[in-house]
């Protein structure tokens, strides 16, 4: 198939950007979206032009590196997939496709479609862990049975890949889905419960500092999340946060 692409080009963080038109031809439905961009970039390079910068690594939907806002949707039209897992069979010959970076105040554009998601790392460093040393001198892994349902629920929350689609999708650019996934995972497990209160307070504090917006319960994030992270995590985090703000005092 032949396609028209309208792609956001921006040299660096401080320069202004604009949409630029490109044509690609001979695209097969079996190609992934990123392979389609590879075709374009190869042409651009061999013509001596600057190829389109975009983030990617695993190309199988797990590293969370790829982003792209495609035709107004984070990770494009398909559900439950990242951009690298989106296949061209979802488009048809003659389509015009709009490709933009994930936009949010907390995610400044680095170049073209590449954004800086360092804010997520800083939120994690504020408390997204269990404070246990890596000495291996802990108790036997089976000394503390965990109900399967809790473990499964914790796992589901833990599958967040930190891609930022939730933020890009949210009209307020809120990071609640991302933060609540980690808070929930650790709050559901006995290992994480011990410092649950401190964790939720510090992670939320950092989230606010980074300039993410508030959650107004529109739920768009859940729809666009490639890993199906559920809104119930936000509800759980709100409960945890409320409880912690009432009872937690730094000892």
């Amino acid at each position: 198939m032949d396609l028209t692409l309208k792609i956001w080009r921006q040299k660096n963080t401080s320069s202004a950007g604009k949409m630029v038109d490109y044509k690609v031809t001979g695209i097969s439905g079996d190609m992934s979206f990123l392979e389609m961009i590879d075709v374009l970039n190869n042409d651009l390079v061999e013509k001596g032009e600057d190829p389109v910068a975009f983030d990617h690594d695993c190309r199988e939907g797990i590293c969370g590196m790829c982003s792209m806002y495609i035709n107004g949707e984070a990770h494009g039209p398909d559900r439950g997939v990242t951009t690298c897992q989106l296949h061209m069979r979802k488009f048809k010959n003659g389509d015009t496709i709009y490709i933009e970076p994930f936009r949010a105040k907390a995610f400044p554009v680095i170049k073209d479609l590449v954004v800086d998601r360092g804010a997520f790392d800083r939120i994690m460093a504020a408390g997204g862990f269990v404070s246990v040393n890596t000495s291996g001198n802990t108790m036997d892994a089976n000394a503390l049975p965990i109900p399967k349902d809790d473990a499964d629920e914790a796992f589901d929350a833990a599958t967040c890949i930190g891609c930022g689609a939730c933020v890009a999708t949210c009209k307020n650019a809120s990071a609640m889905l991302f933060v609540s996934a980690k808070v929930s995972q650790l709050a559901l497990l006995p290992q994480g419960k011990v410092e649950a209160e401190r964790r939720v307070l510090s992670m939320v504090e950092q989230m606010d500092k980074e300039g993410f917006g508030n959650c107004t319960n529109t739920g768009a994030c859940e729809v666009e999340c490639p890993k199906g992270i559920s809104l119930t995590n936000i509800a759980r985090m709100n409960r945890e946060y409320l409880k912690a703000s009432l009872t937690y005092s730094e000892k």
Binding site: C63, G64, K111, T138, F155, G162
Partner: protein, 667 residues
Amino acid sequence: MSKLDSRIPKGELAQKWSDHKSHINLVNPANKRNIDVIVVGTGLAGGSAAASLAELGYKVKAFCFQDSPRRAHSIAAQGGINAAKNYQNDGDSVYRLFYDTIKGGDYRSREANVYRLAEVSANIIDQCVAQGVPFAREYGGLLDNRSFGGVQVSRTFYAKGQTGQQLLLGAYSAMSRQIGKGSIKMYNRHEMLELVVVDGKARGIIARNLITGEIERHSAHAVVIASGGYGNVFFLSTNAMGSNVTAAWKIHKKGAFFANPCFTQIHPTCIPVSGDHQSKLTLMSESLRNDGRIWVPKKMEDVHAIREGKLRPRDIKEEDRDYYLERRYPAFGNLVPRDVASRAAKERCDAGYGVNATGEAVYLDFGSAIERYGREKAAVEKIENPDMETIRRLGKEVIEAKYGNLFQMYEKIVDDNPYETPMKIYPAVHYTMGGIWVDYNLMTTIPGCYAAGEANFSDHGANRLGASALMQGLADGYFVLPYTIGDYLSNDIRTGKISTDLPEFEEAEKHVREKLNFFVTNKGSKSVDHFHKKLGKIMWDKVGMARNAEGLKQAISEIRELRDEFWKDVRVPGSIEEFNQELEKAGRVADFLELGELMAMDALERNESCGGHFREEYQTEEGEALRDDKNYMYVASWEYTGDPGKSVLHKEDLNYEYIEVKTRSYK
């Protein structure tokens, strides 16, 4: 010529590690604060090492080329991690894991290292659970296990098909804690481009800030390379797009020997190539072989009918299917090790029985597992005389709970429903057993320079067993390196800060700048990928699943030609002082073009077949690998002398005191 000293501690095998740990020199906590350690790579090996070293009190600088440590290639590991916990009470033990690993590696790894790996494996699981890693559990609340190839016990811990993700997020959380405390300084989007050696010791690196293009000098008292494997030399592999050999290759060129470069693992169950546009291959985890049965049709007319779309796989009667692994290897069946399974698939496809248009695919079929699980579940749910539809529905639920994300991944790529039709799979490059040579302490032949994880050669011999890479990465990073590095650093407590103004830093930086400048000013006409794809084709055709002397010689000369062409005709747009992904790729492919030649030389030198290294000249009448223990029971360790073609071979002999060396048989 230096003799390789593996520094294996004396004494009984089972005591070596604990004795060694209690005699090793330590650095006291106050002194650790004055010691800097650079860790290149934040995958399982580098991430766990950085976190542990920081906890111990060292000042750590960690580097990765992605935008966050959480995105290292380890994130993609699917199936699981081994540990000798014997929770299933099926006869597992440290010795058995040790034995399986040595045998699985076709007797080409060090006894002492592998024993230590098996010994610390149980600790890894304890550690990860304490960090909040959500491993799969049974209804009783205890940890669940599954089986992987090449073993007869169930010792693999897993988190659905996302084990690597959960383990890496565990290591990342431990790192995050130290980053928050300021004990680790994290350099995301930075690429190490050179090692700095001062007075014969590793003292720092030159790195490029991938956002601004700035070239930076970083000094330290020791440098750890945990930069992963080099499977992308084949262009198409299951590795992440950015996985590369550059960090390892740079230290190699500065004096670190490269061991067994030709030992590559071709994984039997990957989604077949669909066309020329393909940028990477996707693995379907080995864990699927717990429940999936591999087959091709017995009759050639059925093969043709399938390819033409006249028959569907389910139309082929049971007796007309060739479950070739079960036929050839009744004892291990579908769970033979990877090298064996891959060659068997190639054998059937070469004989013309491949089931897709290109003739390079076999079936991985869940039909009987779905039925079996369905019946079990119906019985548990007390459904009497369930009909086939109910059975299949229940069975699919069980399969979905176990492998849901893999099935979804398959369906998205292939556009076919694997619950209904068998998956089509074919072998693909997956892992590299070879890597930087290290001694028992994980130190390379450059003092103060260490290598951990897939980047080193240490534990898997000529073939790695499934679920053992994650184990090795975390063992190296959490439990081995943090101890052994102290032995070296104890001599550095009075050294003080290393200045980055030393002439060695200047020289190294100049060298890096010259290379980068060359790329952006070269007036070539072809993209980097053009050369990478060509290299990949040479490697796959001649240094891939089956090799022979003739082909290897051709590969060497073709790679040399391609390298010359690359330097003449590569085109890299843009400048150094900006975010420039083509420039990043150019440097990586330049290194692959040298490594490829060394791999072919190593394969040519090893006149035997062992593990993943299959030389067509050396096989039994049944087509099994024919090892030559008399002449090749050694680690081939290569020293760089200015041109990959002139590398000098050093041999480290392997001695087996605790294991009887046998012909590997899975029949």
